[in-house]
Subunit: 458 residues, 2 copies
């Protein structure tokens, strides 16, 4: 019996309409990556296991898909290990390769392996799928694309400025108004924990602060007390809860609060430079906002931290993020290479554009012209015309059989074809073709010898 087919949970088929819309987004992202001077690289879908394992914490290691060794994989397992029947010790003996979990670690591996042929500073972009054995749920998949741009080997804060401009350029081109780019700096978070005398509690402290939106000032303070931060210390960071005014005014307040911390002050100065430079250059659609509660990727970012929020009227998490990390390639033996990068969340951007109906209408016209098929002789004349249209770049097709005309028109409607061409016996005799405009129903006749007149009309 034939199988009833299905696909693995957490994966997706993309139908034409979806692929076209996804390509619309990645096409715009890619265009701006290029215009900003980034160069594309691609890395293999699977890496040697040791390249990936241990880079994302224990939870990450569990979520990495491992590829079973080919051939007689089990014969290479020693009897002692085999007798344990233990997945943890058996796994590494029967797998050598694993699907990539993100684009950052493979990029670091790439930089180290190719360091002699790379021109530094190296600005690279990479748009490829990644895989995670996460529990699938709404908006979370086991296969999804990442769209990353990073610069390695450049310490200048102008890089951070450029990434903010890049976000703005992409969202502007996507006609997405109301996006907010939130900006923080790990040095500021460090500085705060230093000022309150709880440097070792940096993570606890930022986790609590991160909840300000949800649980309010009182809730955050309560959680800080529970974590062992003193009341006197909490008093010192009171300004955090009432930051207001422009970005520069907030930075002034932070600067005062952190004046005794060298690291904190440096973080404030970094952000001041970024904010001032961005203000001088101007943004098209995005808003830049200092957000000291922003603590994503705290375990690897060492400088600026970015996160992009969808417009406020949309219920959606972040649609992008990034930051500066000071030692990306150290894990592979190349030290002192500073990096900074951002990522675009393709799936979420897709949902936002869908909800706000921001995809261009013409995107659904995967076919511009359909020639109806009235039989062999007429079809041949149609094919000649179609050849000419295609050479002019027009997406044109012939209905592949002389089915009932009604059926052919139905096909044209379903594929949202704007123009249908008719070459029946009568037209053939007169050496003409008739174009029917499917939007307004209008018809127009053209000379088969002068198809360019129709092309100009398009």
């Amino acid at each position: 019996m034939a199988q009833k087919p299905s696909i693995p949970k957490g994966t997706r088929d993309f139908s034409p309409n979806e692929v076209i819309k996804r390509n619309y987004i990645t096409g715009i992202i890619q265009k701006h990556f290029q215009v900003f001077g980034f160069q594309p690289i691609e890395t293999p879908s699977f890496e040697n296991s040791e390249t990936l394992l241990g880079k994302y914490g224990d939870e990450g290691d569990r979520l990495i898909f491992k590829i079973l060794n080919s051939g007689d994989f089990i014969s290479k397992v020693d009897d002692y290990t085999y007798s344990s029947k233990d997945s943890t010790s058996l796994g590494p003996k029967i797998t050598e390769k694993a699907l990539r979990y993100d684009l950052t670690v493979p990029f670091a591996r790439y930089v180290v392996m190719h360091r002699n042929e790379i021109e530094f500073p190296f600005k690279r972009y990479q748009i490829q799928p990644v895989w995670r054995a996460d529990r699938p749920q709404k908006g979370r998949f086991r296969e999804f694309y990442q769209c990353d741009a990073d610069v390695v080997g450049a310490n200048s804060l102008l890089q951070e400025v450029e990434f903010i401009q890049l976000y703005d350029a992409v969202f502007s081109d996507l006609k997405l108004q109301g996006v907010t780019i939130k900006l923080n700096n790990r040095k500021i978070l460090s500085g705060i924990s230093e000022v309150i005398g709880a440097k070792h509690l940096l993570v606890d402290f930022t986790v609590a602060l991160d909840k300000l939106d949800k649980i309010g000032r009182e809730g955050v303070e309560k959680e800080m007390l529970n974590k062992g931060i003193s009341e006197a210390a909490i008093e010192k960071v009171a300004p955090l809860f009432s930051l207001s005014g422009t970005n520069l005014e907030q930075l002034d307040a932070l600067g005062l609060m952190l004046k005794t911390s060298e690291e904190g002050s440096a973080g404030v100065e970094d952000l001041r430079f970024i904010v001032q430079t961005v203000e001088q250059l101007g943004l098209e659609v995005a808003k830049l906002e200092i957000d000291v509660t922003l603590a994503r990727g705290l375990n690897y970012y060492t400088g600026a931290i970015f996160e992009v929020s969808a417009p406020k009227n949309i219920n959606m998490g972040s649609i992008g993020g990034g930051g500066r990390y000071d030692d990306l390639t150290g894990i592979f033996g190349l030290n002192d290479v500073s990096g900074v990068g951002i990522s675009f969340g393709l799936d979420r951007i897709y949902l936002v554009l869908e909800e706000l109906e921001l995809f261009p209408e013409s995107i659904e016209q995967s076919l511009e012209v359909l020639c109806l098929n009235f039989g062999e002789k007429e079809a041949l004349a149609s094919l000649k015309l179609i050849s000419t249209l295609r050479k002019a770049g027009v997406k044109a097709d012939l209905y592949p059989s002389d089915a009932k005309i009604q059926k052919q028109f139905k096909y044209a409607n379903n594929r949202k074809v704007p123009y249908v061409i008719l070459i029946g016996a009568e037209e053939l005799a007169k050496n003409t073709f008739v174009v029917k405009n499917m939007m307004d129903g209008g018809q127009k006749s053209f000379d088969l010898e002068r198809p360019e007149e129709f092309v100009q009309d398009l």
Copy 2:
């Protein structure tokens, strides 16, 4: 100690120059797929194992990469199977998913699962990587892209005509002269084996015939005799060894030889229609050639068989191929859906274009304009100019630090940047910028308020 990183054998990193060239090829293929009315789909990188296994023969099954189940995979293996310590019986118990081996089986699975939302005839294209655990060797990889276009649900031979035009359009756009599209039909091969009274020896017979180029007529006849084909039978197909003249003349000779075989005659008539129609429509760069020795994919093609050869002066196997298969989706329970499709060999086309130096020169200019960096104040003025250039679609960048000017020029040279912009203290005072043409060394000054004058110059 830091790891010395490497990548799995048979996989590749693609550096910017390679990605750009690969994208140039797939971009052209994709453009023509669309112009010919094909729509894109994408399927997941891994499928349920039962979707893939058993579809490519025993050898294929061995070459499919299996993904180890996540979590405590071994606890689900019964003790009996475990005690055997046998890879063949253990494998299926610890893997449920596998990386796709080609795009055809996932496409068939897609068509069956989505049949209620698909408009038939369905013309789809798909450009995605596939994985095979093959022994890596020169030109054979464990991860590579396939570029496929297929039509399902259309029986007309006009589809075959279109695919020949499509090959021609793509290779014409790639400026690749001298490509030969070889054409055969399984019905002709069947007819021949019928005429010689050795229908059951079809495969042996075509395997022998396939070697005509290499071992000559005598060699082929000897091999046929060895396989049990009689001398009298071989005599009947003598015309095969001396086919000459135009395609239509060769088809006439074949028609005579196969006149007693209904199937063989039908095959000849099919090819006659295809050849005649293609002749009326004309081809730009490719040559269409009947080749009765062509027997690729004999176990699944049921009608036309295509294969594309690189220009004769290039030592390279086929750079594309395809054919008609009458029951693609039957394995998944949807019968009577005829399909026909072709594939482009990306890696080989790349090598051919490289060898013939057919990549456009401008392809290496991933950056059009580099602004040198003379310090903070000058850099800010440069960034403003760069913003304007980028908005006009120019790939422009600022060197990220005020390094020695010689170093910055070296970077521009290595990245093959055609224009370098200088805004030093002097220019800033005069509100101008200087453009240095890196090809001829010429310099020209522009007003910082009117960057559009430079853009027009580009």
